[in-house]
Symmetry: D2
Subunit: 350 residues, 4 copies
């Protein structure tokens, strides 16, 4: 049997925290092979190992094949066809556009292009149907984005509810992990023995991205969902895993058991055999004190949306607790799954 050649991929922002996660998660990937790592001018020219010396923050070692790669600048002459972008929002917009213009398939974790009309803002389990949007991009390549880490967990839970029962309103309070702020991110003196009840721009992202994600593609445009959403975003002293309390109202009035069943049965990627797709994208826990980030964030290798405490809400009708791993499911892992989906749909060529 002939072994297929792997698709060559590059990592933009390879030395940062999201970039490191891309490298960690792509180790031994069956379809993708990292051939390029790119970062800022000051890292360029060093080997990857040198460039992240003392700043490799993953708990597994740097993959052997990446260690010795020469770090390049983020210019669109890299030897690869796909790029994953973990770039900071201050530079991501222009660099990603330049890569897409030059023909690269760009999978971005940055916020810059998320709300662009022609760019899919995508979670494969939620809105794979938006993928064809890329055809309307006036570029040789294309850009696909994934949502903010706080949005992802909540929307994975909302998607089956929207489909089955119709959602009218949502009030969400997040308790977000410090890893979501990048590195160095949150100062320790600000978060030990503390809660910070504000994260710049986060509530707006949750409130707008959700509507695009749950919207429908009509005549080449995404029509946003008609849901009223309120978000309270907080930072807490958790390393990984965003926990969210969610109160919501539905058009239909299902029982709690029907909601649980809907969650447990939800798996629109079943049969696609995407390497990073979780066997169970939504896991419902029955213990009354779960999910907890420390115990449950790594379920399905960090790719699951874990839900617990589904019960009646006195005001909106229903409430629950939602947990997802913010730097795997909520960032690099979602981007990789987006790329796998695009390959399965034939958008990555051959």
């Amino acid at each position: 049997m002939k072994k297929m050649a792997k698709i060559k991929v590059g990592i933009l922002g390879a030395t940062g925290t999201v970039g490191q996660r891309f490298i960690q998660l792509l180790e031994n990937h069956p379809w993708f092979e990292i051939t390029e790592v790119a970062a800022s001018e000051k890292s360029a020219g060093q080997t990857y190992e040198q460039a992240v010396a003392g700043r490799w923050l993953q708990t597994t070692p740097i993959p052997a094949n990446v260690k010795k790669l020469k770090v390049k600048e983020c210019k669109s002459n890299l030897n690869c066809t796909v790029v994953f972008s973990g770039l900071d929002a201050t530079v991501a917009g222009e660099i990603e556009a330049a890569f897409a213009d030059a023909g690269y398939k760009v999978f971005s974790n940055a916020k810059n292009h998320r709300m662009d009309n022609h760019v899919p803002l995508m979670i494969p389990e939620v809105n794979a149907s938006h993928a064809p949007l890329i055809k309307s991009q006036k570029r040789k390549g294309f850009i696909v984005t994934n949502p903010n880490c706080t949005t992802i967990g909540m929307v994975m839970a909302l998607a089956p509810l929207q489909k089955e029962f119709g959602i009218t309103s949502v009030i969400m309070t997040s308790m977000q992990a410090i890893s979501g702020a990048g590195y160095p991110g949150v100062a320790s003196i600000d978060i030990v023995d503390n809660v910070i009840p504000f994260i710049g721009g986060e509530e707006e992202k949750v409130q707008t991205e959700t509507l695009k994600l749950l919207g429908t593609l009509e005549k080449g445009k995404v029509k946003p969902a008609e849901i009223t959403i309120s978000a309270h975003c907080n930072r807490v002293a958790v390393i990984d895993g965003h926990t969210e309390t969610v109160s919501f109202s539905l058009k239909k009035k299902p029982s709690i058991e029907e909601i649980k069943r809907t969650f447990s049965n939800y798996n629109p990627l079943r049969g696609l055999n995407l390497p990073s797709a979780p066997a169970h994208p939504i896991i419902v826990l029955e213990e009354q004190n779960r999910p907890q980030p420390k115990l449950d964030r790594n379920l399905e290798k960090g790719m699951a949306c874990v839900i617990g405490r589904i019960r009646k809400d006195e005001v909106l009708g229903y409430k629950m607790v939602v947990l997802s791993h913010n730097t795997i499911r909520g960032a690099a892992g979602c981007s990789i799954l987006n790329a796998e989906l695009m390959k399965a749909k034939g958008f990555l060529g051959e």
Copy 2:
């Protein structure tokens, strides 16, 4: 000028965390003097200092006059007229009733009698008007209770809103401090790098106690407020201070500025000169990332309700962040203020 004799008070559950706070907060109190400390059988007979050896968890030393007091059992033959109860709910119900029957004025922090028809559940700034309920208690003395620590912060914020604008519904998510669970309370292995999205019985307490607190005394009975309330209660790795996100809807539609003004002007205890009453019971912070428990819990010596981020809520109309110190304002401090109020109203005798 003749100096008044101080009122003799006893502390029930004196060796526990709430008991310790009572002792700390009553040091040098102008009206009350601790003459008795009572605890379980196994502490009885020792001096207070011996009984709490290695378990005094306050950051100020044991007050000199309490150190050498002999710990008694919680029996109603103590040399005092007022008792503050920091007893555990497993024993508080009967012991407090026995003390009240024997003529003591009991100020309790326990949940047992809070919802009794004849017992005021009281926060002086919220419902001092409920004080006369004690007259209908068929006891020689009486019991006055203060609410659960999570309820207190929220209700201090809701009280002026209810009065001025009328509240229809509230959705609250708490991020509660570990000190709220007593000692030893939450295991460290359960909370470091974690959030626990469940606290037994807490959501129910918030949802029921609030209605009694905001209710009106009519014909010797408390008519509960007609508000719909939903609570999500979580434990986070904060030492002291409960942070709460609160979305709420009002009958009237005030501007954000009117709400802030209402909070800042609220001070129904003004003029009573109660020693533990904060000069400003509600403090509104304008910085977008406040209140924070580490920075703001000790405002007004821990007796304030601190509010920030008052803004429009897309679903219910308004939202905000509320912080209060759970073991001062939310427990011992509220009890002491209740006792001060009762004295000012003449209910502690001459």
Copy 3:
């Protein structure tokens, strides 16, 4: 090729934290198969899943084959030949003795029998030579113990130094993880924003166990090593992984490079193919700010002793930082490795 039947093993104290680790680490073990789980009377009769409901604290699920096992009492009529004991010291002494008397091979994590004259206190990489001590036990079976979790990391580092250069004195300060205290263990209110500079009995264990471990088996008895040891033991807010600063003096005066080489080459189990033996029992890190528990405790699946900052000490000659995973290498993992060694040496029968 005929597949060997696995050895049947039972777990004593199966519901506790050490017991849970045994179960987690023995999942899919090539030589051992859990056939029995035993715990206190109050768990007995339930399935394992029921017995640990809400208290399974591992981040991987309960192994399927253990879930449904009926929990038995810790009586020596279990269907297995080997038992691993995660029993609490209050009961471990007698129960383990009873099992050994009844013919079971007992591998214990408890302190009770560690210093018994006829019981090997063993770390396979350190003193496999003590194994024959079991022959002098007047029991049908035998007991083998592993040391205290704080001792293990330090002694793995000291063993090659003792062998190559001779040690004369050691001063060690530990910064120990909360998981070392079992469950519920350390109260969160005691350790968040804090250090506890005392752990009952710990310094004595380190100071005595080390001498037995580094001692020599002469005429059927262990002659303790002649080293002077001083330990300062502290608890810090780390979940897993004991970090230790170690100053030491040697008889010979090797260079820092010779010490590093000695560490890196050390691997007395090489060739034995013990399933749980780390490929590199001692890992030397060169970064100046390593090892760190969060980043390095899981090296070699938690079975390594990780050493950094090896440098001159102004007082004793040499100093370094040592890290090891306290609940894997320092507890259940060491016990399992002891059992594997005993099997390789033919002490488990056939």
Copy 4:
């Protein structure tokens, strides 16, 4: 009785963490009055309140008289005679020298001039006798420095031992608070659930500064003490308060009781009535699990050296645990006490 005019003081680096502490600790100081606050160019021109907006990290509000002060640049034309420097080491050296040259009395917390031959490195309780060194500075004003925060706690404990019994060697392991790294300082992702066993330059500072502090002034020069010192410096997740384990050997062989007595009696500033001097500079705790940073760092308003667990050390003879508040006693508080001492000795004029 005529009230003395207060001495006008300026704060250099006023917006940083040490600068903020100076401002907090000098509120209502009986001798000093802040008339100037100076910081970097980018803060200059704003009011102090504006300049620290969102970055005032103390738990008490900005003192009213400082709020409205205009922030100046760090140039030697300030309206004051004394300056306290909380400047960063990257700029402190030159700026402090310029101020001293211009006639200001400079009390610095920065490392730059600490080891200068003519600059006292001073802790009033340890080596007030070094004060006259300033006379040999060829400047119109002078510079006095205080040691590194880690050195201070240890040396306050060593000083009476050196005087009474003579010290020969010391091995110290620190567990240092995050506030010692300034702001933003340690990234939260680096310290939650972690220990960092390295702090750049810290061990060297402890090992050299200690010898100067315990040295003797002979013929206008400090003769360093002849003690061998080894330091292991670690960062842990504590907010304030450095905990240190200290093993030491003495020339004389006092009993543990004699050492305790020596500590408790030590108070060389007795009678000087310095406003910030603690009544008891060294506090000995008898509980076996103390001192703990959370419980004991604020003893004597954060100005005490708190010692516990004094006992025999198997290697060096004696060992103990030492705690001090790193940003009060270990930084701003020590600087202020130095200034008070210099005033009491007549070095601040009239």
